[in-house]
Symmetry: C2
Subunit: 294 residues, 2 copies
């Protein structure tokens, strides 16, 4: 019997529970802090056990999956320490990895098998009600072992865990992960929010004319502000660096437009290189129905 303890009943934790609860020989335990969340998980029968007791959820688990906000992880792990065993896999789903690994790796050394994870399968929709068993199908799942620190077995088991959920697993160091996600996830989030706020400031009536282009370009801006404030703050240097790069490209384009017709060649080459690269991206990650993203 494999026992998995999912700590946190949100979109990601709920989706892992849904994906695993009906598999043979798997016991899914879900921990939630708020009693109403425990109740919701129980009535949705999302796990074999839904509980507000961390000890009850974690004791005897083979795998502990942290699905709480990044800033809440360290305290939660400290509470769980007494009931962890050295061969328990502990991993997480946080969107930022360097601060998580810096906090948890030393704490768990010799106490459990720890490695960070980040399934690129969040969504602008949040909460248990948005959970889906196929959320991780074909989604890129990044595990973030640290050279000379992460036990090989921790990495192997995390890779196996996400693969079993249908993920396409890749490894990056926590630092590289955070630079990569600053560019492909955090920067687009800031940009989407900025686009919405710019239209709001310049001409709110314009929202009445939006097509799918604006909606898709700004979809991620509907994500939870609390969660994204934490993500952006935890990765502030890399996100700020990405923003500086973006600002300079936009600045250049604004100047080209202001200059007039003579700059059309530059404008065309800017658009053509973007199209050439964009065309190489895979059309979907398998979890298309919910339009998921991290």
């Amino acid at each position: 019997m494999k026992r998995i303890a999912i700590l946190g009943p949100g979109l990601l934790g709920g989706s892992v529970a849904l994906a695993l609860r009906d598999r043979d020989g798997v016991e899914v335990r879900l921990w939630a802090r708020r009693p109403e969340a425990v109740e919701e998980a129980r009535s949705a029968r999302i796990a074999h056990l839904a509980t507000g007791s961390l000890v009850e959820a974690v004791a005897g688990a083979d795998t502990v999956l942290l699905c709480v906000p990044v800033g809440a992880m360290e305290a939660l792990v400290r509470q769980a320490l007494p009931v962890l065993s050295p061969d328990t896999l502990v991993t997480d789903v946080g969107s930022v990895k360097e601060p998580v690994c810096r906090a948890l790796a030393p704490l768990l050394e010799g106490r459990a098998l720890f490695v960070g994870s980040h399934p690129m399968a969040g969504s602008e929709k949040a909460g248990l009600s948005a959970a889906r068993p196929d959320l991780f199908q074909n989604a890129v799942c990044i595990v973030t072992p640290e050279e000379g620190r992460t036990p090989v077995l921790a990495e192997q088991r995390a890779v196996a865990f996400w693969s079993a959920l249908g993920g396409r697993v890749k490894s990056l160091t926590p630092e590289v992960h955070d630079r990569v996600c600053a560019l492909i996830s955090h920067l687009p989030h800031v940009t989407a929010a900025a686009l919405v706020n710019v239209v709001e400031a310049a001409c709110p009536e314009a929202f009445g004319f939006c097509g799918a282009g604006f909606r898709d370009s700004t979809r991620v801006a509907a994500g939870l502000p609390e969660m994204w404030t934490e993500i952006l703050s935890s990765n502030r240097q890399a996100v700020a660096a990405g923003l500086r790069g973006l600002i300079s490209v936009l600045e250049e384009t604004a100047v080209q437009l202001e200059q007039g017709r003579e700059s059309e060649t530059a404008l065309h080459s800017f658009l053509a290189s973007a199209k050439a690269r964009r065309d190489t991206l895979l059309p979907g990650n398998g979890n298309v129905p919910g339009k998921s993203s991290s």
Copy 2:
């Protein structure tokens, strides 16, 4: 018998043809400049008549729909002038309206019933092969009458035309249209292209880790560079003004991130106002399967 002449066999012209060709009492004629495009339209049986002769397409038509690039419209209309009649509706699908109306309205005064149109239902996919009969279902279709110039009948017939295709028709002056589209379509296009180019410059390997968030945020960047160079150039002032607004918001956010923890409240309020507004946008415009946009 109603006769419609569609000039230009691309995504929009082809979709109008597909939407109308099987209706009772409608004759659809499609004109294309290139012989291969005429051939393609013929073998796809997209219209009752596909021809390379402008006169053959336009003569006797009740409605003439210009579906060629904005810069090619004036010359085409000049060629068609001899076979237009004063009660022919002439309209277009261009993404920029002020230059189109400035060129065509004087030319067509008393020679045909002209008003500009812009169905917000393009796509990053181009060409006849991407055409769909339901492209305009629930799409916002903007008609752009000019006070004191546009015949009332032209506006009424254009409204009826797009309504019959399933569009949600709204009216704006050409100038307001161009300011609105700079914000909700042209600015997101530049931003999407810039995001792709920034990642390419900073860390091309990052593309291998993209989730649906990056793909959606940058989808429009796959649009045709030639077409978008023309659109952005034709609306350069309004797009540049939008870019200046966006740059200053991004600049502010970069500073907040660089400042550290004390700016988290400002960051949260930036994200929360974007979410609140984004949540008010309708979830789809009906043409969801093809993820269409203008």
